[in-house]
């Protein structure tokens, strides 16, 4: 399970970085989304992987037998929502840049 997830994180990162370095704005936005999945999973995995141990307490706050680390989860939760907001902002910027420059190249003009 750990091996699978770490390979997955690597593949997501690789695809994201590849797209990040491409010349088209749309490629960059997809790349950033992939990269944010990878980062979110990475931070989440810092709390170690456990099956069936959600950090939710039983009735009257009794401690269950096991639970995962809630701190990375809290971090990732807001990161997901903020990630959406930055995606929206970037999308709007790229649309405006495309309108103003007529090109969807990241530099606003086609390279040589």
């Amino acid at each position: 399970m750990e091996l699978t997830l770490s390979i997955a994180i690597g593949v997501l990162t690789g695809s994201g970085v590849w797209l990040l370095l491409r010349p088209r704005t749309y490629q960059v936005i997809i790349g950033l989304s992939l990269l944010s999945y990878a980062v979110n999973l990475f931070i989440f995995s810092m709390g170690r992987l456990r099956v069936g141990a959600a950090p939710v307490l039983g009735a009257e706050g009794a401690l269950e037998a096991g639970y995962t680390d809630p701190v990375p989860q809290a971090l990732v939760l807001t990161a997901i929502v903020i990630g959406f907001a930055t995606t929206a902002l970037f999308l709007v910027v790229l649309l405006a840049a495309r309108g103003l420059t007529g090109s969807d190249h990241v530099d606003g003009r086609e390279s040589r």
Partner: protein, 964 residues
């Protein structure tokens, strides 16, 4: 806390400055009354505090600021601080009276008084700080307000240059001072002035003593315009004269020597102190006096003379003897009185004649006899003529210069330098009086001069009388106050000294006479030459100002250009490539240094279902990367695939909150990008793209970068996941979640309670981003080729037009009819789901974020189902109001606990029975979560519909043709 007089002295000027800004622009008189009463109040408060400092005591006021960093807002007034506070507020008061007549009605008086009062507040802050960091903060503030005041007439380029130079030099010194203070804090373990003053032995013995001393002296020398940093002061003379009188002679430039005297018991007495401080002081004393002789600008002469007198004080401080300190403090006071009065007199002359050029001024005595007399007396004090205060401190200076303090050549040269400096002072004082007031009046002045109004002359008169009185009966006037100041610095070491006019025939008296006669003779011989000299004899070509300009140009212009040429690019891709490479390198370095070992736990367990799931997820990611260029929709769908796999992973690995949030965010992200696709250019596979060897090389380089990045992340992730986790704060949160946070969903309790302040920050960011998106789209101009309706709509419309029995737009309305009916019916269900997620959030997976995004998804579904116009004519959608309301609600929940006497965002909870709903946790955190929910709904809806609205606007295409 309470309102202590110390706090009041400090706060009054700042508050009055704020009031001054709000006055009418032509309210010169009101502003004067305001500033006058403020300075007078500070003066009176200072005087009232005298009994508490008289017997060696001190007044203090402490407010905790950042106690964990040893940073307290400590105010502390002892005798030395008291006498400086008296100086600052007293001369401040006189300068305010003077300014009333000096500033012309056309000048923006509000700005002047704001800066002036704020400067005075900062100055009092420096003097009264009981914490060294606080002192540095106020120190830098005085630099900034000095900059603003020098540049007051900013239409004048000399004022701008002078201001910039003063700020560059003094702020650089301030930075050095901060470094020095941090070192002191490191050595002593505290920034508290009292503790530092008790730790002199430890500091002097510490191996970091020399760097500390150098940094602190850098701060003091730049501020007090000591050689080799003296050049900014003459250039600061472009300031209005009241500013020169106040900042650049009486108060701000004294801060440097103030600090040296303040830390004198701690830092002085070592050979390093003696050599560095002594040399700087001696050089400033002689050089300043020498250059002052050659100035043709009246204020320039006074500026160089100020450098010289500050050099004298510095030299006195360098000697390390208690008597030297007495003389230094005495001379600080004396210099402030005669130099401030001289500056004000210079301002009067400038004001009355329209010029400050010594070559053009002459014979003014017959026009303004009173001002002339006052200026002559003040100049005599500056020259050290008996019966005036300058004479007394100069006598003490001579006595100290003669006495042996250390076996070094600096000490042996000191008496000669002292006599030489004093003689030159006599020469330039004589030149000042002779060329302005005596001689034949010229044919014409720019203006016909006459005596100024009484109240403009009054401050000069007051200060000159002070010079006289102190000079004649020092023991009765300044004596007790000087003793209080000196003993507060020296404590038990306070030496016996006598303030008297006549000590008998002594060596210092002989030196005084040598200086007076020598200076007078020099003026008789060289006076005519000085009157016509263009630049100082011998060293005229070495100009600090020019050197400074050269260095500035080299650094800020040539150097910057060079670096930009070498390392700059306007293209994004190389920048990102560098960024990625730097990130990889930053991660690789520690791995190489300490190695990467894999842990042991759970390495064997492999769940094949999980592996299969991620096989799909990874395939989606790679395919999305491959398709993003030509098949945008496909790439978006594939991205969604990866997102869903991520979401399932969260469910699988015990993170139900994340899964819920990820799922709804996935929906709105897809909708968002779908909305944006419409405005992107068409791209076909046969479009010409750069190809060839270079392009292929670049692609291989990018590919290898991404492979390395991916491999690295895999390795690091695996290494961490297979290790036993260290002790974390998780246990604390899990234990306290129910007992203190009142919730069973620990993640949610962390978000809305334990780390509520962070969440407040995050939702603020979210709101700001949403409003930014909205603002950017208000002026959205799509590219010309995206203006046309989408192809599908064109086909539908032409179909309607071709069929005679169809109404235009009928096909469009029927488009996706069944799904849209279902979507409309689902709206209440979505609302219930969102409410459910919100209400259970504290105890079970859910919460404000997930609920808010779900609610927003409900809204956007309605937009998709029925169209923007239909939905907005039926529902009131006010996302901006929701954003504001949500933020306000969250913040007010936090503030409510403040009202109840607890820290910001402390939560309260209990369970309540609601009819039909059952037992519901009612924590104040739930109100906070409601705020989060409202804001998230508002922000998400605002972003989505702002893009959606572009389709129904009639957008104007950007005019690209004109641009190119």
């Amino acid at each position: 806390m309470g309102l202590s007089p110390l706090l009041l002295i400090l706060a009054l000027p700042f508050m009055a400055g704020l009031v001054a800004v709000m006055l009418r622009s032509d309210s010169r008189t009101v502003a004067t009354w305001l500033a006058g009463s403020t300075t007078l109040a500070c003066l009176v408060l200072t005087i009232i505090l005298y009994p508490s400092v008289r017997d060696g005591g001190s007044v203090r006021h402490r407010i905790e600021w950042i106690p964990s960093l040893g940073l307290d807002f400590t105010l502390r007034m002892d005798g030395f601080a008291w006498i400086f506070a008296l100086l600052v507020s007293g001369i401040g008061f006189l300068v305010v009276i003077y300014t009333r007549y000096y500033i012309s009605p056309e000048d923006p008086v509000r700005r002047f008084y704001l800066f002036f009062l704020a400067f005075m507040g900062s100055m009092l802050g420096v003097v009264l700080s009981g914490n060294l960091i606080l002192l540095v903060v106020f120190w830098e503030l005085t630099s900034i307000f000095s900059f603003l005041l020098i540049g007051y007439w900013h239409q004048n380029p000399a004022a701008r240059d002078g201001a910039r130079m003063a700020l560059t030099v003094t702020a650089m010194g301030g930075l050095a001072l901060l470094g020095g203070v941090l070192l002191i804090g490191h050595i002593v373990g505290s920034y508290d002035l009292d503790v530092v003053l008790r730790s002199g032995e430890a500091i002097r013995a510490h191996e970091l003593y020399v760097p500390t001393l150098l940094l602190i002296l850098l701060g003091a020398f730049t501020k007090s315009a000591q050689f080799p940093f003296h050049f900014w002061l003459p250039n600061a003379m472009a300031a209005p004269t009241p500013v020169s009188a106040y900042l650049h002679s009486a108060t701000m430039v004294k801060v440097g020597v103030f600090l040296m005297a303040r830390l004198w018991p701690v830092l002085s007495g070592t050979p390093e102190w003696f050599t560095i401080v002594g040399l700087a002081g001696m050089a400033s004393l002689v050089l300043g006096a020498y250059l002052a002789m050659f100035q043709q600008d009246l204020k320039g002469l006074l500026a160089y003379s100020t450098i010289s007198h500050l050099g004298l004080i510095t030299l006195l401080l360098s000697l390390g003897s208690p008597l030297g300190l007495v003389a230094a403090i005495f001379h600080m006071l004396n210099h402030a009185t005669f130099k401030a009065s001289l500056f004000m007199a210079a301002g009067i002359i400038d004001h009355e004649t329209g010029t400050r050029d010594l070559r053009r001024l002459s014979g003014l005595f017959r026009y303004m006899p009173i001002t002339g007399t006052l200026a002559t007396v003040a100049s005599a004090a500056m020259a050290g003529v008996p019966l005036l205060n300058g004479f007394l401190s100069k006598e003490m200076f001579f006595a100290e210069a003669v006495a042996t303090h250390a076996d070094s050549w600096v000490d042996r040269v000191a008496p000669y330098a002292a006599v030489l400096g004093s003689a030159l002072a006599v020469t330039y004082s004589m030149r000042l009086i002779h060329s302005i007031f005596l001689g034949a009046p010229p044919e014409s002045f720019p203006r016909e001069p006459h005596e100024p109004p009484f109240w403009m002359r009054f401050p000069v008169m007051f200060l000159v009388i002070a010079c006289l009185v102190v000079g004649i009966v020092p023991g009765l006037t300044i004596g007790p106050f000087l003793h209080v100041a000196v003993s507060s610095v020296l404590g038990a070491e306070t030496p016996e000294y006598s303030l008297a006019l006549w000590h008998g025939f002594t060596v210092p008296l002989a030196m005084s006479f040598v200086a007076l006669i020598g200076g007078a003779l020099l003026y008789l011989v060289a006076g005519n030459y000085l009157e016509h000299a263009d630049r100082p004899w011998l060293i005229g070509r070495i100009d600090g100002y020019r050197i400074f300009e050269r260095v500035m140009v080299a650094i800020s212009w040539r150097g910057a250009r060079l670096i930009e040429e070498i390392a700059g690019t306007r293209r994004l891709q190389p920048q990102l490539r560098l960024l990625v490479a730097a990130a990889i390198a930053a991660a690789a370095v520690p791995l190489f240094l300490s190695g990467l070992g894999f842990g042991q736990i759970a390495a064997g367990t492999t769940d094949f279902a999980f592996a299969g799931l991620w096989a799909v997820g990874m395939a989606c990611a790679v395919a999305a990367a491959h398709q993003a260029k030509f098949h945008r929709l496909a790439a978006l769908v594939l991205l969604g695939g990866t997102g869903l796999v991520t979401c399932v992973t969260f469910v699988w690995l015990s993170a139900p909150d994340l899964a819920a949030t990820q799922l709804v965010v996935e929906i709105v992200t897809t909708v968002l990008i779908l909305l944006g696709l419409r405005w992107l250019p068409k791209r076909s596979q046969d479009l010409a793209e750069p190809s060839g060897m270079l392009a292929r090389l670049r692609r291989w380089r990018d590919l290898s970068l991404s492979v390395v990045a991916g491999l690295g992340m895999s390795a690091v992730a695996y290494a961490i996941m297979t290790r036993t986790p260290p002790e974390s704060i998780a246990d604390f949160f899990v234990e306290k979640a129910y007992s203190e946070g009142g919730g069973r969903n620990v993640v949610n309790v962390i978000l809305v309670d334990f780390r509520g302040f962070d969440t407040l920050g995050e939702i603020t960011v979210l709101g700001i981003v949403a409003v930014t998106v909205f603002a950017l789209l208000r002026r959205f101009r799509p590219a010309p080729d995206s203006i046309e309706l989408p192809e599908q709509q064109l086909i539908q419309r032409s179909f309607d037009e071709a069929e005679p029995d169809r109404k235009p737009g009928a096909t469009e309305a029927d488009y996706l009819f069944v799904p849209s009916v279902i979507m409309q019916w689902m709206f209440p269900v979505t609302i219930v789901l969102a409410a459910y997620l919100l209400l259970r959030g504290h105890d079970a997976p859910g919460g404000g974020f997930a609920a808010g995004v779900a609610m927003a998804a409900g809204f956007i579904l309605q937009y998709m189902a029925a169209g923007t116009i239909w939905i907005e004519s039926r529902l009131r959608i006010l996302p901006v109001v929701w954003i504001g309301g949500g933020l306000l609600l969250a913040a007010l929940t936090g503030l409510a606990s403040l009202l109840l006497g607890d820290a910001f965002l402390t939560s309260y909870f209990r369970y309540a029975d609601l009819p039909f709903v059952g037992k519901v946790p009612l924590a104040s955190a739930a109100m906070f979560d409601l705020g989060v929910f409202t804001l998230v709904v508002g922000a998400t809806v605002l972003m989505l519909i702002a893009i959606a609205h572009q389709s129904i606007r009639r957008p104007r295409a950007a005019r690209i043709e004109e641009r190119q």
